[in-house]
């Protein structure tokens, strides 16, 4: 556990190299010769690929080499003495390079002595600074040497070596091409002196080139290729075992043939077959040769296949690991939780455990938990004794006795309970706010519960989303999670320096309705609302005394803000008048908070929402820190939705009612537009339309039509929008920025507008027309996907079809986009993941190379900035001026 200062070994580095035949034999526990796995009784055959000495995978069977059972036996290598050497297919490229760069007779690098010396020195120098450059340099040396035709050392004539994928080499002598046998290749490689290899940037100590031609083949331990026993008792061998059996069989036959003195032809055949088996054992997707197949016809999954790709060893098992102490279930909302909390079902809390050290101070408490056991909540599932032995409380008869035996120094793995720190995550984990630390709140029912305000960072909704929960097991992990990853610490996003946690949808509507002009609350309502926020002070002076005390919503907000808070800013409902009269705004769209009182202005998207910079919430968090931010989000924001409940906010069809005059107006606008389009078309037909420079006539016409139609749609929207005032719920939501926009409302009450595919009017379909409902060659608005109807009235069949077409394009678009952007993100992440800020303020790679001398040129953390700016100078000046008055 934590705080044990034991001498532990840490891995300092990983060295790569090629195994030498001697090393392979030395590593091996036995030679494998027999191409059979089990005998008739089902016992592994000694000397076969399932030899017991290679390790054990069966429970209850001791390993013959190390004497351990399955859980402790690491597995042991065997080896196969190959009857004839074969080329290691993955090294073929390197062998080719070496054969070409060295002399076929004396084995020296085909460069004069001085140049070899120079290259060696260069390689040494590069090694220290840019190892990758050393290899590039080595390659260039090899390329240079490959061009030489006469050996500068022994004057021998050199021939071109042709390499045929995946493992055949030809030497093109005068008399024609001659195949190079692995034996010959190996001999040549053996002759290359160490220092010449160094000149090529290679390391002869860890990889002599002749080792790339195999004479001995290591046999992986059984633990690497376990037998699978099905319920039926049928045994199924691993693909690699199958491959080994094939390989051994041919090896055996080759050996026998050689011993019998069989004709060279037969031996060569078997030899190349052996080469094939060795090649496919390493990589079964080599170009140029058919993949080895299982009896069923499925290609075998051999060593390279295990490593490669998304589900391979590297990306699938090493860079991403599966974990214990985690849970996953559906999420649902709970606005009464704090943003820092997460609701955890009791069932989950009873399985996930937190190791707690027994101390004299918690001894009794721990005893009680142990007595309650694993089934009763809150209880405990395991006890770890100081000697490391684990006791599973499920199987303990007398828990009372165990509880009594509990002493300081024991560890109790108790159930999750309120206040524990856990990590909560929703995939895809696209940014760091996708995993945040929450405090547990154990609740009934079977879903994880979270506050709605933390939906934006997770990008969560409740249409069936599932989320993951992890329980940190060490004191360090918990401390780090609580101080760095807690939700409140993540309110400000490092992406743009603005809150990513904050109100959305109903919170915005609620904020607006509560704080808009004319919201009056009687004592009962006011008290009930402040109670929601957990406010415990007294009530302020009521704003209205007659008829009876009434308070405004603005007063309520003021009650929950800190008393020295000041804020000024435009609301979302701002009408963008020519000159802003600021706090005198007749629409209550200019928000002013003075000394913690909301003086004027209604709160909406630009003051309380998430993902908007320079809001009231943003300033508040920046000024007072994350604790205050959390208080605000847990207090004031709760009032917003509580008020919305009291108000009874709902949107019905009546919210979209417009008088018939508007309908007529819209129709008039549309028919005028239609006429205009008609004229355009006619003009084009007569050839009077002036094409835009660089465009064809058709393009120009299309563009003009689009312009006319979109203008008409806008005008129709305006006509409808004029009638729909702030009394309509839909308009309230759109104007305050809670959900949708005015365009959407237009689409519901006036016209839906142009449907488009690839940014153009819809034109695909039958020859000359999109749908059979239209005349040939009709390029009028209706025939090309303009929808005159609105959602409220309903779409005509053709219109509906056009709408579906555009909708489908959107879906396809999204599907394609996620794949593309996902890959880009992965590349970015892989390229930049090691960059960090060093103690001197520079940005460095893991190797210490400098990327930037000062992070972002000014050293400012975007998450701590004011929307990118390090300091809001205007605010500071305002503050100082405010202090002037005294």
């Amino acid at each position: 556990m934590a705080f044990q200062f034991e001498e532990t070994k840490t891995i300092g580095g990983v060295k790569f190299g090629v195994l030498s035949p001697d090393l392979i034999r030395a590593l091996s526990v036995t030679q494998i010769v027999i191409p059979e796995t089990y005998d008739e009784e089902g016992m592994p055959i000694r000397g076969g690929p399932m030899d017991r000495r290679l390790g054990t995978v069966e429970p209850g069977v001791r390993c013959e080499t190390c004497g351990n059972y399955v859980s402790l036996c690491p597995g042991h290598f065997g080896h196969v003495e190959l009857a004839r050497p074969v080329v290691h297919p993955l090294f073929a490229k390197h062998i080719h390079m070496l054969l070409r760069a060295t002399c076929r007779v004396c084995g020296r690098l085909l460069l004069p002595e001085e140049e070899i010396e120079k290259a060696r020195r260069m390689a040494k120098r590069l090694e220290a600074r840019w190892p990758l450059l050393k290899y590039k340099y080595g390659e260039s040396v090899a390329k240079k040497a490959a061009k030489v035709t006469v050996c500068p050392h022994c004057q021998a004539q050199q021939y071109k070596i042709r390499f045929e994928k995946p493992y055949t080499f030809y030497e093109e002598r005068e008399g024609g091409a001659v195949t190079l046998r692995p034996t010959e290749i190996r001999d040549r490689l053996e002759r290359i002196p160490d220092k010449d290899l160094e000149a090529l940037g290679l390391d002869p100590q860890s990889a002599r080139p002749e080792w790339m031609v195999l004479t001995v083949l290591p046999v992986p331990p059984i633990t690497v290729r376990p037998t699978i026993t099905l319920e039926t008792g049928m045994r199924s061998e691993d693909d690699i075992t199958h491959k080994l059996v094939d390989l051994l069989r041919i090896n055996q036959r080759l050996k026998e043939s050689i011993e019998e003195g069989a004709p060279q032809l037969v031996i060569d055949d078997l030899w190349s077959l052996l080469q094939y088996h060795v090649a496919t054992l390493f990589d079964n997707e080599l170009p140029g040769i058919p993949p080895a197949r299982h009896r069923s016809g499925r290609p075998l999954r051999t060593i390279a296949q295990r490593l490669r790709g998304k589900e391979g060893r590297f990306r699938g098992s090493l860079a991403g690991k599966r974990v214990d102490f985690s849970a996953r279930t559906v999420v649902s909302p709970d606005p009464r939780l704090s943003i820092n909390e997460v609701g955890v079902p009791i069932e989950v809390a009873k399985v996930l455990v937190v190791p707690e050290k027994v101390t004299p101070w918690n001894l009794e408490e721990m005893r009680e938990l142990v007595r309650r056991g694993p089934l009763e909540y809150p209880g405990a599932n395991y006890i770890v004794r100081p000697d490391g032995a684990r006791i599973d409380l499920r199987f303990v008869k007398d828990r009372d006795a165990i509880a009594e035996a509990l002493k300081p120094g024991y560890i109790v793995e108790r159930h999750l309970r309120d206040g524990d720190i856990v990590l909560f995550n929703r995939q895809p984990s696209l940014h760091r706010m996708s995993i945040m630390a929450h405090r547990v709140k154990v609740l009934p029912y079977r879903t994880f519960r979270l506050n709605l305000l933390v939906c934006p960072p997770y990008n969560a909704d409740f249409d069936g989303d599932e989320m993951n929960l992890h329980v940190p097991q060490s004191e360090e992990a918990r401390a780090e999670a609580a101080t760095l990853m807690l939700v409140q610490e993540q309110i400000l996003s490092p992406r743009y320096g603005a809150p990513i946690i904050g109100g959305l949808h109903d919170y915005v509507t609620g904020a607006y309705l509560l704080t808009k002009k004319g919201t009056l609350l009687d004592r009962k309502r006011f008290a009930q609302l402040v109670m929601e926020a957990g406010y415990e002070g007294g009530l302020p002076e009521p704003a209205v005394l007659k008829p009876g005390p009434y308070w405004t919503g603005k007063q309520l907000v003021g009650l929950l803000l800190r008393k020295d808070f000041n804020f000024e800013g435009k609301a979302s409902i701002c009408r963008k008048c020519g000159t802003c009269v600021k706090e005198l705004c007749p629409y209550d769209a200019y928000v002013v908070v003075r000394n913690g009182e909301l003086m004027v202005g209604a709160l909406d998207k630009n003051t309380v929402a998430s993902q908007v910079p320079r809001t009231l919430l943003h300033e508040y968090v920046r000024r007072y820190g994350s604790d205050a931010g959390r208080e605000l989000l847990d207090g004031l924001y709760k009032v917003f939705i509580a008020y919305l409940d009291l108000y009874g906010f709902t949107m019905g069809l009546d919210s979209l009612d417009v008088p018939p005059t508007v309908e007529r107006e819209v129709a008039a606008i549309m028919s005028a537009a239609e006429k205009e389009v008609e004229e355009l078309v006619k003009k084009a037909e007569r050839g009077e339309l002036e094409p835009l420079p660089g465009r064809t006539l058709e393009d120009t016409l299309e563009q003009r039509i689009l312009e006319v139609l979109s203008r008409a749609r806008d005008r129709a929207g305006e006509a409808a929008g004029r009638i729909l005032g702030m009394l309509k719920e839909a308009v309230i939501m759109a104007r305050t920025g809670a959900r949708a926009n005015m365009l959407n409302i237009t689409q519901m009450v006036a016209v839906l507008g142009q449907q488009s595919l690839r940014g153009e009017r819809i034109k695909r379909g039958f020859t000359g027309r999109v749908l059979p409902h239209f005349k040939w060659g009709d390029i009028g608005p209706r025939a090309r996907g303009f929808v005159y109807s609105c959602f409220k009235k309903g779409l005509k069949p053709t219109e509906f079809f056009f709408h579906a077409m555009a909708g489908r394009e959107g879906l396809v678009d999204t599907a394609v986009r996620t794949a593309q952007s996902g890959y880009m993100y992965r590349r970015l992440a892989n390229a930049l993941q090691d960059f960090h800020v060093a103690y001197d303020g520079s940005v460095r790679t893991s190797e210490g190379f400098i990327v930037q001398f000062r992070y972002g040129e000014d050293g400012v953390d975007p998450a701590k900035s004011d929307h990118g700016e390090p300091v809001n100078v205007d605010e500071v000046i305002k503050e100082v001026i405010a202090e002037r008055g005294g």
Partner: protein, 400 residues
Amino acid sequence: MAEKVTVEVARALLEPYAHVLPERLAEEVVRKVVEAGLTVDEARKVVDRVVLEYMRSLVEPGEAVGMVAAQSIGEPSTQMTLRTFHFAGVRELNVTLGLPRLIEIVDARKTVATPIMEVYLEGEYARSREKALEVARELELTTIENVSRAITIDYVDYAIIIELDPEMLENRGVKPEDVVKALNRIKGKKGSVELDGLTVVFRTGLDDAVKLRRMYDRVRALRVRGVKGIKRAIVRYDEKLGEYKIITEGSNLVAALSIEGVDHRRTISNNIYEVAEVLGIEAARALIIREMKRVLDEQGLDVDIRHIMLVADAMTMTGRIRQVGRHGVAGEKPSVLARAAFEVTVKHLVDAAVRGEVDELKGVVENVIVGSRVVPLGTGMVKLMMLTEVGSGSASQTQK
């Protein structure tokens, strides 16, 4: 009332912090303090608070800024449209934007889908539309085909007959003599060119019909005027600058910069490689930042400039342009395991074996792979030596 601050006094107040505050911020303070008409004491207060607040907003050592940058660009990119084309301020021109363009930048593609140059003009040229048009004509590639009504082959005489279009000639600012001059460049020894009014007869002097056809194609695409690679040049009035500039479809910086009237200080292409070659790596870095920012802004995505700068710096830190990916930043990492975990796993492992490479486990993935408990970033960057037994003074130490 105390005296008001002047620019000089404000500067003097900031002097002690010259090495702390970024210049831009310091200048902003000076300007605003004077504008607000504060007294010296008040100005001092402002300066103190600004410095304090600035210090508070600094990044902490160990912060994994690279990962944060990758996330800050990767996360919003899922919300981008795939819609490729958008107008580049000019209705006539399309530019790739959105996700495809972002990927193009990050990939550091040598050829851009829609190359574009913004050619700024100097002096007279920037002020007069006529003069600007002149430069535009100089830029725009005009081929013989562009200025002729018909080009026909005379198989009898092995000649190519070009009928020039007076309107197009006028439009492109080309004289028939220019066409003749252009043809003279390629006519060879046996060929001859004759000009008769608006008809140019080019006797090729060839004797092979196949060669004639080839010559015909060559003549059609023959450059009469303009710059290679520039399909179109459009003169625009820049409202902000109050001057004319030219936007071109296709780019050729070297040629464009040498044309008279072109302001070589501001003219830029959107091809990162070209800019790196012609203007240098710093210009390329600036271009990467500008282009990425533009793509994100155009989509209404808010991303801090620092993240983009980090990506640009990663791409240009070696002095040449490296793509973000297998053949660049990610593929040139010194760690074998990190490379193997990214792409082309087996190749990296095999190469490492031959070279006897050592992975020193300095990076993040490497440590995840070997399963060490800490990753050398953030809180894991701290190396603390600690006595195991308090007061014993023995040398047994543990590293965290």
